[in-house]
Symmetry: C2
Subunit: 426 residues, 2 copies
């Protein structure tokens, strides 16, 4: 798509540099530069800055709309990767944006859209971050990537690295569920089961990354991951014909995803492809809501218990809290926490009304929306996009908890007749 543009001829990206979100210091992007040296790895999270003027001059919205690359790479000018770096073959991004009539009817809201990011190659939104991670690793001439996680970050890294021919070391705590381990092993990751807690696994991964010089995909530390995540916003805008919705709703754990969504809309606004910004609704579980609590009480966040079945957002100590809170505030949006029962109910609602199977964290956004609709804090005439962040097949145990029971009958039509009549199904 950019073959004839200045962009492609120059064989470089549109990145100007990196800026610290705490002190504002600007740094040149380059191998090994992940966090601000002045503010340290915790506070000194870096933001990638693009040459928006040059993007405006060399790329048009129509060029993107006409692209036949149906993956997140249709937005290459907004990504921190060089056009000539090899990419994994997996189709990451360009997930469907649905407008389910049944769901709209159930919620009593006419314009509701669902972005199903469970349709990514390893079945979660995290593929958007991991595909950028493996490309950056190749650009920095690394052959091994590492992270500590038992969840979607790990499986997406393992899958994208396998497609790219890179080695991975994934550090997981001993108690990690077998299903998630299986996905990692199938993708050929070297899975290190650390006989200890998640903190032990995280610490050992940091030491090992330092010791052997592997590429670090631990989120938030790495400023490029959020750039991949922001493509979900670019897709939403394009799939709605560049008409920005009133609200974009998503669940919040570490805070990287909602920060990425905000970055995506801001990027489009900067280059003039959209004429306004949406409000963001960030949703957590009441069992683990450090950011929703801080937002509601307008105070700094503090660590929380991790007491929710939505494992992908069970993050008591989020690694990107400031970016997330800032994004929601700047957007004029809200944060809300919902009990786990409402998350399970949202899984059922989404499945039954729309044929979309979400993992608990994937349905949490819908639960939050439902709650604010009922309270009248979001109007029923507003245009809303809910992002489903992961596929329910990742977590069958909780799906069973949400789903209810089948109807048991003996193999006889008479018995079936009795049973269905009793339940008023025939």
């Amino acid at each position: 798509m950019f073959e004839d543009s200045a962009f492609d001829n120059e064989r470089r990206d549109f990145v100007l540099g990196l800026r610290c979100i705490s002190c504002g210091r600007e740094l040149a992007a380059g191998p090994g530069v992940y966090t601000c040296p002045a503010c340290g790895p915790k506070e000194g999270i870096l933001d990638v800055i693009y040459d928006y003027e040059r993007i405006k001059r060399t790329v048009s919205r129509e060029q993107v709309t006409g692209s036949t690359d149906y993956s997140l790479f249709r937005y290459l000018p907004f990504l921190p990767v060089r056009p000539d770096t090899p990419r994994p073959h997996l189709r990451v991004g360009w997930t469907p944006l649905y407008r389910p009539i049944g769901l709209a009817r159930q919620l009593g809201i006419s314009r509701i859209y669902v972005k199903d990011d469970g349709q990514n190659p390893t079945a979660s939104l995290k593929d958007r971050a991991s595909v950028i991670a493996v490309i950056k690793a190749v650009e920095e001439r690394m052959t091994t990537v590492a992270c500590s996680s038992t969840g979607n970050a790990a499986s997406s890294l393992a899958g994208n690295a396998a497609a790219m021919g890179l080695r991975t070391f994934i550090f997981v705590p001993g108690r990690a569920p077998q299903g998630k381990i299986a996905q990692l092993l199938i993708f050929g990751a070297n899975v290190i089961s650390v006989q200890g807690s998640y903190s032990d696994a995280f610490r050992l991964s940091s030491e090992a990354i330092e010791r052997w010089g592997w590429y670090n995909r631990n989120a938030a530390i790495n400023p490029y991951l959020v750039e991949g995540k922001k493509t979900v916003a670019l897709e939403i805008a394009e799939q709605l014909g560049w008409e920005v919705p009133d609200w974009v709703v998503v669940s919040v754990g570490d805070g990287c995803t909602i920060a990425g969504i905000w970055k995506g809309f801001c990027d489009l606004y900067r280059v003039g492809w959209i004429d306004r910004l949406p409000k963001l609704l960030g949703v957590q579980s009441t069992g683990c809501s450090p950011l929703a609590d801080a937002f509601r009480e307008n105070r700094p966040w503090c660590p929380a218990e991790e007491n929710t079945l939505a494992d992908s957002i069970a993050v008591g100590v989020p690694r990107n809290p400031e970016k997330a809170l800032r994004a929601v505030r700047e957007s004029g949006g809200k944060m809300v926490a919902v009990p786990d029962e409402e998350i399970l109910a949202a899984m059922r609602l989404l499945g039954r009304s729309s044929g979309i199977f979400a993992e608990p964290a994937g349905a949490a956004g819908l639960a939050g929306l439902r709650s604010l609709l009922e309270k009248g804090e979001i109007g029923r005439e507003e245009k809303v996009v809910v992002v489903v962040t992961g596929n329910g097949l990742k977590d069958v145990k909780n799906a069973i908890a949400a789903a209810g029971e089948p109807i048991k009958v003996e193999p006889s039509l008479d018995r079936l007749f009795d049973e269905l009549t009793r339940r008023k199904l025939v």
Copy 2:
């Protein structure tokens, strides 16, 4: 895409009628016509016949290539549905066709492609059939669809019906695995757990369908399902720039999928969009290989044991055997059976080399290809497409069997060093 064509103005499909594959008798298509009345429901399987001359006149290959409908409905002229019938919102089809370099290297074959149909909405190729089933149900003014299955047919029907606002009754045997039941219940299906064998469930479903007049999605009985499945062939052809591969490889259970693939290529050949046909390789497990055995010994098929972990192709009494065997023979292709260990090895190979996670039946095709490459029955210079029919997340238990074990270590860098050194990983 057809808005300006005669096709759309007439608001009808290109179907001429139905033809019995046993006696050749032609029937008008219409509500309730599923099998040949002369030959009966077992032998009298019907084939949908299109007006290929009219398709040739009114639709060009370039129109399809330029379509922005990235679902199987880009091939609407080749489908037995009217253009104006409502459709579920789910994005069925237009799954990615990958060319994984790592897999090519491992197999020693240069031109190998993988069609990942695990990327469909409910994570299997069966969505292609179920989406047609629910549309035909709506065309016939039915509001309830039923089938008996514990597998991908059931979950894809439940998902597509939910998206369409239809009720479903799914009959499963009592022993059905919980994970599959959960997927059905999440989609709001009325799941009837029949306390008996699979045959009991099938029989009760047939009686209930007859009793309450529900729409019948039991495969093979319904002539329209194979029409949905054939779209995987149309996509392969288009994604290869209408250059037909030498071989298309797929696992075989009931026989409907391989028959559908053949129908798809034949359709394209009939309208002159491709200039030759591929050979088909049908793969079964040695634990359940009625069709591969019949093919090899060139004799009629007979029922077999169902002794394989690849549950989606554990079909001892296939319901579409003749169409399947005929397709492979007409194509000049082959059938082969491979042991379950080779299927598990193919799962590992596909995951590690390509980042694709297949269920056992989904990887069986690759196992068969590997076997014929080793025997020299498929040449290493040939161009081969392997169809992955379902996502590995559907069957985590067997993935664990295939995947091996993680590396267990205490949380200490020294211990990790020892362990990785011993395994020659650092």
